[in-house]
Symmetry: C2
């Protein structure tokens, strides 16, 4: 369907902002991206990022505009978890079927490449230009050095808010009546740490694994980078017995790492320095609705739906927003009010679903991994799925290796959970969990 060329502003030059710019440019629009920060290509990346895991939804969105191959060059496939459990030797858990993998990418490296690609496509970037206000019904953008100083006014046909979980565009929408909004922080924070490469540039741990050191209420993860290093993330409660609050001195930090992560400690050269230099960051689930204002303004990505990172889907969900939005652009031409309406109605339940799934993964990891009954349940599911791969697709695969809606993955997961509740109530399930009786029962419940 025909679409008239529009003059469009995107607020935020992050991953979602730069990919959306490429999509809009492809449809023939004039696109300007504003960012209050300097051009990320000219600066050292800040180091408060959990490495990204690109999965099917993300790749589909890149494929659509022909940049999948380009980005794969900077990604490392991970086909399994490497589990580092206390008192056991390291073991692996395959993520999915043969050929299924998630891909580790450094956020900084990816963002730089995306901006390059957008610029090559003809997108204009205005870095270090701070947007302080948006006139929503008029699609006007106001920028300036300081909030109280002189502002420049820009007139656009429409404005996209891709400015992340603490979005100013959304913030402006939030002050309106009938705008639903929530932000919920979890009591666990995270800190970035690094395992450097070997002297010859090779990786110190298996390169094609997502490494996890689960320790109950806290855990460490590591994802590989192209240069041989690993970006690690320590997740730990802010307060409490073992917590960020209670590690204030180098001696306390040393005790902590040598008690819980003695092997990792040996390969982290600058551990003490990193631990006290890098910030401790918070994690939030942010929901809102609506995501658009008339045919003038729309939110895309984290500005509309920020999730906790425990399903590795934040970026994938944002990229999928763009893919879906673009489909409606193709379908409804110049009728932007309908495009935005369809987009938000389509995406909102899926955004809520991945928020819920991500939060549940957090709860699972922090409180259930030591629960014998929970572990038995997971064992039964895995056993059954191996025997009946068509009949029992794990929620993780539905989310990660499929392009079906998140809401469907959540619903199917709930249905499986209901079945498992019945199965777990079978008397003596501990003894006969792998019996044909249990298998028949599960088949009957499906």
């Amino acid at each position: 369907m025909k679409q008239t060329s529009k003059n469009i502003a995107i607020i935020g030059s992050g991953l979602v902002g730069s990919l959306l710019a490429i999509y809009l440019k492809r449809r023939g629009h004039l696109v300007t991206v504003f960012d209050r920060r300097p051009d990320i290509r000219n600066i050292e990346f800040s180091g408060r990022s959990i490495n990204l895991a690109m999965s099917n939804r993300g790749w589909r969105s890149l494929r659509e505009v022909g940049i999948e191959a380009e980005i794969k060059k900077i990604a490392i496939p991970l086909d399994k978890r490497a589990m580092h459990v206390v008192g056991k030797s390291q073991y692996y858990q395959k993520y999915g079927k043969e050929g299924e993998a998630i891909w580790s990418i450094s956020r900084g490296v990816l963002n730089k490449r995306m901006i390059d690609l957008a610029e090559k496509a003809g997108v204009s970037f205005r870095f270090e230009e701070k947007v302080w206000d948006i006139d929503l019904p008029e699609a006007k953008v106001y920028t300036g050095e300081t909030e109280k100083g002189h502002w420049s006014e820009y007139q656009y046909d429409m404005v996209f808010g891709c400015d992340g979980a603490f979005s100013r565009v959304r913030h402006k929408m939030q002050r309106r009546s009938r705008f639903d909004y929530s932000q919920d922080f979890i009591d666990v924070g995270y800190k970035e740490l690094t395992i450097p490469a070997n002297a010859d540039g090779t990786h110190k741990l298996d390169k094609n694994s997502f490494h996890i050191w689960p320790r109950g209420r806290f855990m460490l993860i590591a994802m590989p980078n192209l240069d041989g290093s690993f970006t690690c993330t320590l997740f730990m409660p802010f307060e409490g017995e073992v917590s960020f609050e209670n590690i204030r001195t180098k001696a306390q930090a040393k005790t902590f790492f040598s008690t819980y992560f003695p092997n990792v400690m040996q390969v982290m050269d600058d551990l003490m320095e990193d631990f006290f230099k890098n910030p401790t960051s918070a994690m939030v689930t942010m929901k809102c609705y609506p995501w658009s204002y008339w045919d003038k303004v729309a939110l895309v990505g984290d500005s509309a739906h920020a999730v906790v990172p425990f399903y590795g889907q934040g970026m994938n969900a944002g990229f999928e927003d763009i893919y879906v939005l673009d489909q409606y652009m193709g379908q409804f031409g110049d009728d932007w009010e309908t495009i935005f309406m369809k987009y938000q109605e389509d995406r909102k339940p899926n955004a809520d679903a991945i928020a819920e799934l991500s939060y549940r993964n957090f709860i699972e990891m922090s409180s259930k991994t030591a629960d014998a009954k929970f572990l038995l349940q997971k064992k039964i599911e895995k056993h059954f799925a191996a025997k009946h791969p068509q009949k029992w697709v794990p929620a993780y695969s539905r989310v990660t290796f499929s392009e079906r809606p998140y809401a469907e993955a959540l619903a199917m997961g709930d249905a499986q959970e209901a079945i498992m509740q019945t199965i777990m109530n079978i008397p003596g399930i501990e003894k006969k969990w792998d019996s044909s009786e249990v298998e028949e029962r599960m088949l009957g419940l499906l």
Copy 2:
């Protein structure tokens, strides 16, 4: 316990702000109240208010500072609902036991009186002074004509945010990390209408009743004023078949009122004018946490917990905040960090409880009043409560005529609901609902 005199700013001169000022003054502090609006005593009140229903919690808070009698002079006791149901003649439902009543007060009249009383107590008011920013750790307040113009800076020892559901003080706190926040609008709006007094100043409907015209998804209520008039509120969905959106012309409004409220229509002189002149307002449940910042800033009332008005407890909950806060002031002297901590830990679960109860009342009124099973359940509860008043205190009484925590009322209500689920599943309950068998069963379940 000794408390040093502090220099305190209160943002907002509404009901909660002016009562808090009286409390703080009584404890010997220097108190200044800022309000961006003009002095309400010099202007016509705006007319987008649901009349207030003061109940036990509110009265206790006024009694504590000796102004209960003064305020009772401007209140009218309502000891019953007057139900105006289609196809039935008007009937009454007593609220509680003999002597129990809620009290109708006009918001404007009450607020003017409260400011008078605060001023008499020595509180300073700075009306039409707009607060644009708060320095939370420094307890500094910034005011000015416009957000972008020149600002004056005031230094205080502490600042209280009593600036309502759309609080700027909270807004400042919200931008910090780890601040939980949510705002949820319901899809029903409200509009104020008026039934004027008779020519001789008497009331056109029973003066000591809360009048309700329930109509399923929409309803009209009326509460008496001292001057013989009634302030009415029409609650109706914003969108849908019967909705504000679908009443756009005088002809449509006339059809609506003559179809659903023919009798009321006759006594509303300026109905058409009011309907189109008065705004349609939205209703929100707002939650947040924490409610304080160090020993410097605290939120009180709607700024900390706004609820939908269907339990008539918004003001009562805000006044109870002050009562509880003051108890901790008495207990912890100059240790303001502990005072604020205890206050928020005490009040948060109760604020959540009254939010939940208020929202449930909305759902009940809008979707369950036509449900035969629900009505039967209510009939059984009432029948049982009449026989065993000590054993079955309705949630409404626990909320309205008691000073026990809201959270307790919610928990007891849930326990009663669980019992009623069992009772409603008794085969043939429709026939034997008032039998001794059912009564015995309920006694056994208590």
